[in-house]
């Protein structure tokens, strides 16, 4: 077999993404090429025990392999005096593709997860409408629905990167407040039209049925656009941690406005200025003015492998992979650098791209045992380019730590240790 020539497309080992398309990688890495030279005498394959006896029966509800039990969300409650506050972060470094399993989708709660009986749950639409209405769950299931794949990201995701020093973290601990899913529900406009929107209405005020009765104000023009009342996530009823029996879903926007356990929509002339749109989720600028209702999440990407706290055990070819997303469109391009942003190469993006959804990117990279700094840079369909951390922090300051979407840098040292750095 002739050793294939690897086409280097950027400095420090990045290889043309075309090599992902059937050109094959056998024979290209140091470890792989040695395996072609001679068989390992210790490898005598035998039929394993599980091939010699019947396996488990089919079950009513599936579970994962016990060998993947270490795949867990990272959860913690920052204040034991504030029951139910806190978040759980998706294990981005262990996941592939662009859909997050419901059991590993990130969560953020402000007063815990209520245990709601759908038969007792009500959704009220009132205020500046022709006829206030109350809906029950069974009836809502009869409405025409749509299914869309969207990302959901907490406004506070990656917030520690505003800090003066890089935290020793993983893709999960630093960036795990983003996930992707297929959401099925009723266009909110269908229900607002049924109630009859008063021409004077400008905002909807959405309130959840959790213990905090968390509320957010959303402009009516946005609510009539692509917002949905989501009832299903990845085909199954929305789970309690995601708002069972129903949640608002506002595509591309900070997760907090997709109010979970939705029970009230009040149409008004003015926003309510809820606590979570004044005290929290607002962006104080360097001039000390604070931006309010900053909804769309920025154009962003993060390499999920190799990533922080991993260790490269040997030299050779690695598949650099990650996710990219934009609150303003679809992902058009993801570039990857292995030399801290001096040279860049285009990564392969999976073709089934949709608006405001996670895009999986991949590019082969040959690690030759030297220092490297891996970065990714996304560009969306509107031409928005992910900024460097330095330019983002210079522009926004760090009084507020919401809406971080700067470039993540993972340093690889000669021992193969991967760490979060500012580069």
């Amino acid at each position: 077999m002739t050793k294939q020539e690897l086409e280097k497309v950027a400095a420090n080992g990045l290889i043309n993404r075309r090599h992902l398309l059937g050109l094959g990688l056998a024979g290209m890495g140091t470890a792989a090429s040695t395996s072609l030279l001679g068989a390992d005498a210790g490898l005598n394959l035998e039929i394993p025990g599980w091939s010699k006896q019947p396996g488990a029966n089919a079950s009513g509800y599936g579970s994962r392999s016990r060998f993947t039990d270490d795949m867990q969300r990272m959860s913690g409650n920052p204040n034991p005096l504030y029951p139910g506050g806190g978040a759980s972060r998706s294990p981005l470094h262990q996941l592939q593709g662009s859909i997050t399993p419901n059991s590993l989708h990130f969560e953020r709660h402000h007063a815990g997860i209520p245990d709601i009986d759908p038969a007792q749950h009500k959704l009220v639409i009132h205020g500046l409408v022709r006829q206030p209405l109350v809906f029950n769950y069974e009836d809502l299931l009869r409405y025409p629905m749509v299914s869309k794949i969207y990302f959901l990201e907490c406004s506070g995701n990656s917030g520690s990167l505003f800090g003066p020093n890089p935290a020793d973290g993983s893709a999960q601990s630093l960036h795990g407040l983003v996930s992707g899913a297929e959401w099925t529900g009723i266009p909110l406009s269908t229900l607002l039209d049924e109630a009859g929107v008063d021409p004077e209405a400008r905002w909807i005020n959405a309130v959840g049925a959790d213990a905090a009765s968390m509320g957010r104000s959303i402009p009516l023009n946005r609510a009539m656009d692509d917002v949905m009342l989501a009832l299903f996530q990845n085909g199954e009823p929305v789970r309690p941690g995601q708002g069972y029996p129903m949640r608002l879903f506002v595509p591309g926007c900070e997760g907090n406005i997709s109010v979970k356990w939705l029970t009230q929509i009040k149409l008004t002339r003015e926003p309510t200025h809820f606590r979570d749109e004044t005290s929290k989720y607002t962006d104080t600028r360097l001039d000390r003015k604070s931006q309010q209702f900053t909804f769309p999440m920025g154009t962003k990407s993060v390499i999920t492998a190799p990533s922080g706290q991993m260790k490269l055990e040997r030299q050779g070819i690695y598949q650099v992979t990650g996710i990219a997303w934009s609150g303003r469109g679809s992902i058009r391009q993801v570039e990857v650098s292995a030399d801290g942003g001096r040279t860049w190469a285009d990564a392969m993006i999976d073709s089934h791209q949709s608006e405001k959804a996670l895009a999986r990117f991949r590019i082969p990279w040959q690690w030759s045992g030297g220092d490297a700094v891996l970065q990714s840079r996304a560009t969306d369909s509107q031409g928005n380019v992910q900024p460097t951390r330095t330019s983002l922090v210079t522009e926004k300051g760090n009084i507020s730590t919401y809406h971080f979407h700067g470039i993540q840098s993972w340093a690889v040292n000669t021992a193969g240790d991967v760490a979060n750095v500012y580069a």
Partner: protein, 177 residues
């Protein structure tokens, strides 16, 4: 679904099918009419313009006892907090390098204090305070910040008139793309 099946068999061309579907969509009206008066115990939304406030009143002097009984575990004896997130007093948006943002230094509307306490506080027993107690305890928090006198009777009228120090500190970005 019965209507839909009839339409499918009746129409041979897709054009008439799509017209039939949209007609079926418009016919879907399953909401039950309700009156605003039936929502009085349900709708907790209180806005800066004065809408949504219940009857009741209270002073900071009355609120001190409630605060010391129900709030200090997280917010401290005088609102100094047990963490940056639970601090209620102090801070200066202009003079500090990294301003401490509290009810006093940051929140633009006193209505938010009423709305939030009524719906979400105390964290271990939300909605357990009476309307009078909410007026009393928020009067105390405003007084701790030096925004109102401890004798001011806070009610739906006087609350609307409370001016917060950072009332001009916010920019509405809701229509930014």
């Amino acid at each position: 679904m019965f209507t839909l099946k009839k339409l499918l068999t009746a129409s041979a061309v897709s054009a008439s099918l799509s017209i039939g579907l949209s007609a079926a969509v418009q016919a879907q009206s399953l909401g039950t009419p309700i009156n605003e008066s039936q929502l009085q115990g349900f709708d907790l939304i209180a806005q800066p313009n004065g809408s949504g406030y219940p009857q009741g009143s209270g002073t900071a002097m009355q609120g001190k006892a409630i605060f010391e009984r129900r709030c200090v575990a997280c917010h401290g004896m005088t609102g100094e907090g047990t963490s940056a997130n639970t601090r209620l007093v102090g801070g200066d948006m202009q003079s500090e390098e990294r301003p401490i943002r509290t009810v006093g230094s940051y929140w633009p509307h006193a209505s938010t204090l009423f709305d939030y306490v009524q719906r979400a506080m105390p964290a271990d027993a939300p909605k357990s305070l009476t309307s009078d107690e909410v007026y009393q305890v928020i009067a105390y928090v405003l007084h701790l910040n030096g925004i109102i006198e401890d004798s001011l009777v806070l009610n739906k009228e006087t609350l609307m008139q409370v001016e917060m120090p950072n009332k001009d500190g916010f920019i509405d970005s809701s229509q930014a793309l």
